[in-house]
Subunit: 349 residues, 4 copies
Amino acid sequence: MSERPGFASDNHAGVHAEVMDAVVAANAGHAAAYGGDPWTARAVERFREHFGPSARAFPVFNGTAANVLSLIALTQPWQAVVCARTAHLHVDECGAPERAGRKLLTVATPDGRLTPELIEPLLVRIGDEHAIQPRVISVAQSTELGTVYPPDAVAALADWAHSHGMLLHVDGSRLANAAASQGVPMRALTTDVGVDALSFGGTKIGLMGAEAVVLLRADLPDGFKYLRKQSMQLASKMRYISAQLDALLAGDLWRRAAEHANAMARRLADAVDGAPGLRITQPVEANAVFAILPPDATARLQEDWPFYVWDEATGEVRWMTAWDTSPDDVDAFAAQARAELSAAARPSP
Amino acid sequence: MSERPGFASDNHAGVHAEVMDAVVAANAGHAAAYGGDPWTARAVERFREHFGPSARAFPVFNGTAANVLSLIALTQPWQAVVCARTAHLHVDECGAPERAGRKLLTVATPDGRLTPELIEPLLVRIGDEHAIQPRVISVAQSTELGTVYPPDAVAALADWAHSHGMLLHVDGSRLANAAASQGVPMRALTTDVGVDALSFGGTKIGLMGAEAVVLLRADLPDGFKYLRKQSMQLASKMRYISAQLDALLAGDLWRRAAEHANAMARRLADAVDGAPGLRITQPVEANAVFAILPPDATARLQEDWPFYVWDEATGEVRWMTAWDTSPDDVDAFAAQARAELSAAARPSP
Amino acid sequence: MSERPGFASDNHAGVHAEVMDAVVAANAGHAAAYGGDPWTARAVERFREHFGPSARAFPVFNGTAANVLSLIALTQPWQAVVCARTAHLHVDECGAPERAGRKLLTVATPDGRLTPELIEPLLVRIGDEHAIQPRVISVAQSTELGTVYPPDAVAALADWAHSHGMLLHVDGSRLANAAASQGVPMRALTTDVGVDALSFGGTKIGLMGAEAVVLLRADLPDGFKYLRKQSMQLASKMRYISAQLDALLAGDLWRRAAEHANAMARRLADAVDGAPGLRITQPVEANAVFAILPPDATARLQEDWPFYVWDEATGEVRWMTAWDTSPDDVDAFAAQARAELSAAARPSP
Amino acid sequence: MSERPGFASDNHAGVHAEVMDAVVAANAGHAAAYGGDPWTARAVERFREHFGPSARAFPVFNGTAANVLSLIALTQPWQAVVCARTAHLHVDECGAPERAGRKLLTVATPDGRLTPELIEPLLVRIGDEHAIQPRVISVAQSTELGTVYPPDAVAALADWAHSHGMLLHVDGSRLANAAASQGVPMRALTTDVGVDALSFGGTKIGLMGAEAVVLLRADLPDGFKYLRKQSMQLASKMRYISAQLDALLAGDLWRRAAEHANAMARRLADAVDGAPGLRITQPVEANAVFAILPPDATARLQEDWPFYVWDEATGEVRWMTAWDTSPDDVDAFAAQARAELSAAARPSP
């Protein structure tokens, strides 16, 4: 019934066995609804273990919601969110932030990463009521282009944000990948370097469907529980969501799963690098490989392997690896890619 | 870890074993995300089997979303939704409909059920731009008071709505209970009697967390898929939600589960009826028993059994049964209730 | 070109000559836009003179906006506004508050006036995330039924609101009428008795079109200027609006205009009271008379005089007087009403 | 009391005498409120005269509202509006479109003008529910950079839009200037070339405060009157707004006023062109002159004359002329500018 494992997206992968076991185990009799259950209490505690004692975690259903609710919680309606022009928030949410009444200000970047220098020009009209007022910087970690922010880059953004009366949000739909990639705990990329709020992603790293808004600063306003309910994101039988988060965070599953996915991307990049006509376009720092190759080769590869063209204009493709990508599949795909590219490069007789 | 099974809510119950098996079975390799998977195709087909060939089903995460998205899809921003004053939509969604920009017009009812006669006075200002324009009637089936609408009552509402340029929506978070209670298929309460759109509820009848917006009329406008995404209700790994809906609807699980829950409510009502100082306040037509009893007795019962006081002012309580409520628990609870009530009624020496 | 002066609404009246003179006088060369002009500075100062040094006034275009913007400024999206079921906000704004994302909780009243006792039952679910959280009480002064709140009634509401973590807003579209009726300055009904924010109405008392949001408490959050702009209520050539407000508030025009309108309502009530088949249904405390009379008499009167039926079911009508209603018109109308009613009461031969 | 006439904005100018006379004349007794008056009937008819028999005009208070309401009326929430990156809509409305739930997709342009070629790349994801769906192209006429679209450029955009299932909206806050500049009637830039909806601007061309949404196509959906009311833009005493629009459109005031403003911009551009260190950066096609000059010279000029720096980074300034700009002021300003620039260019001794 399922499709051939490929490189389309890490959300094509299924649920890690340890997570499924936890979901099944949570199916034990009655439990209070809407988060009043012991699984949720434990998951919330896990977030404090990972992100510090001030972390307040609120499970939600998906990443769209984690991002949108985080940003609503951090802003007034006349305050804008600054993000990269390639941000998922901007290009892949069907206008969900705007539907919720928030304007995004986008910034072109070479590699999906924001810097204070890139953002600074947006601040020229602070106090001018005709201009939306920038309030939050939102960065994806890892980025939509498979790059990561090192801790000091995040710290620089946080410091700059705070010195300008702004806040820093991390869209962490792949935070585990970014942390594993750099060999640091997740708090080294968030709490420890001044991040104010986090969208924590679990689904792409082996959960069935579980994300969380994590407010990291103690002085953020209360009321988030109402916002979650009103925004249609309060799960009735929350225990089955919380059990997933608990399974991911209780031990080192988050790291194992992310390290594997990252290693597979590295393996794939290494295996195709140097093939004729192929150019890897972004640093491979998490679980994605971006490359430009001839459209013909792309088309033939897609007959056998699911993956997406990222930019029709340039022929750039995206190959995502997941927690369950097998080395054999990587090797088989890379071999086929090299073969297609070599054939294309050979002069026709 | 779990709480003592009681009568607090049908969403305190867990997941039916057949459903959990289906979720586990869906965990087979890779599958396209966002509903492009075979489980979702099958679930969508199940809805057509149950609700007719025009039914377009869109899985969403929870009941709040099923209701709010249905209503947005059926209205313009200047059009109102008419509902009972006791409607979940009005009293238990933390203003989610209004946050989405829709006004509710509420109507007092004796038993949670709307009728054309009750709604008619709201139509006096059609065409007057100062007045919100009523467009949708939303009825809960079964109602929040445990009563049901028979098919002809639904038909009367639908006919009346259509003859006044309005539409009929069913909040079917407990539609299975209403259908089982009356021994009819679910379409007898919806498609066959003119209902335009349905919020289909699965969570309370044994799913882990799966509901659906079902557009029943072929001539409703397109675009719902965008609305779902933008409203943060498009599941990434949708197969795990669709597998639940498929399990519920493929055979007769929906009916078995609902019949059991309903029977337990009936059993409970019969067992306490006539106890001194207790009065059953609503017809027991689905899986809820509403009763008024002395606050002291309520307080002592709550020490052992979870359930909610519905109305502090009158002492009315709500006892919900679920797909997994055991006859033994019903009997034990009823016996304890009778004992408390008899003790309270005995003259002090 | 204009219609016969009648009793339809105080906004059918034109612009007071002193106001029109001020508008014409403001047409002097160039002036900074968006409120950076001297007329606006002066109008804002007038509000401080009337409402105390903490009053921050923001001119807006109309009463709908003054109310909606006030309420958004005082609430989070998950907080509700409590108002009378007859409130203009609820029945005559085409859902503007809900379109802006705020839920109203309505309370039935005998005479359009809220009291703490009427509101108290709404507070049973504070802290429950499933329930919208009441945050603001909004009262109309004078009410939509032509009654007024005396200072101590406002004080009682304000004290009760504050002791429950709530705020008090006054919809003062006819505040001048209410103050004039009671012989008190407008601050005796607002600032001095604990009101937090005010929609100040000028249009109905002789302006061309000018209202203001007035934040009365110094500790209300900043940012209103952005909210006004974003809500499409920042006037480009604001001087022409501010000049109207200045003309109304600089001297005693507000009081003269209101006293006249009130006196005309009193005169009308006195003139028709006791006529056969007519019953005055509300205390005549401002510039409205509510009465029930036979529909036939109403229909014949409407042939000659514009006015509205308030309640088709009971035959209740509303007669509004304005700053320019003439005693002669009142007398002529009352005479005609008495004649119609007497004719109707006479037994047919 | 007023400021020195300068070149800050055309909304610093006052009200044309013919318009003020019309406002005063409208102050004649009672009139029905909310647009039920004869002045509004006449203004609506004037729009039909100018824009054809299908034109449905709805007066509103300001340009922000005219734009936002037009765009809401033309789109579903999941549909985007395409505009130039310099559009007022994007940079000067404090996020009003997004607050109303609509996302803008912005396009960089050399001169404020969109073309089909610039927009085409935005259409790559039609039908993809993750991507907001482009639905309306909004162009400003004249543009924010003082350039105009000729009729055939508008026609090309309209044709392209319609052939892609899209609509064309004109932000006509300075439509009169654009038409006068090209010697064509306003319908030659709108109705005759396929424009679907128009924000008609009156305030900047000599009105006190009056704009209109004009739906040009007969097949646009109904319901706009509710949207206007709900969006807080229905004027109570509308006659005073409609009388302004009538005065502007009844004869040729719109053209006289626009021609004068345009001529003053031309005169200014001619007078400063060639001054040392000054470069005119945009074609002068309406009532604005954009120029880069040394910041020192700008600063000294601003001591005597109000005007805005458009781009701090490049030193570009904007000089707007108005219906009442005097040739003497233009000449005096230009002379002073040339003097400052010559002094700055002279080598220090």
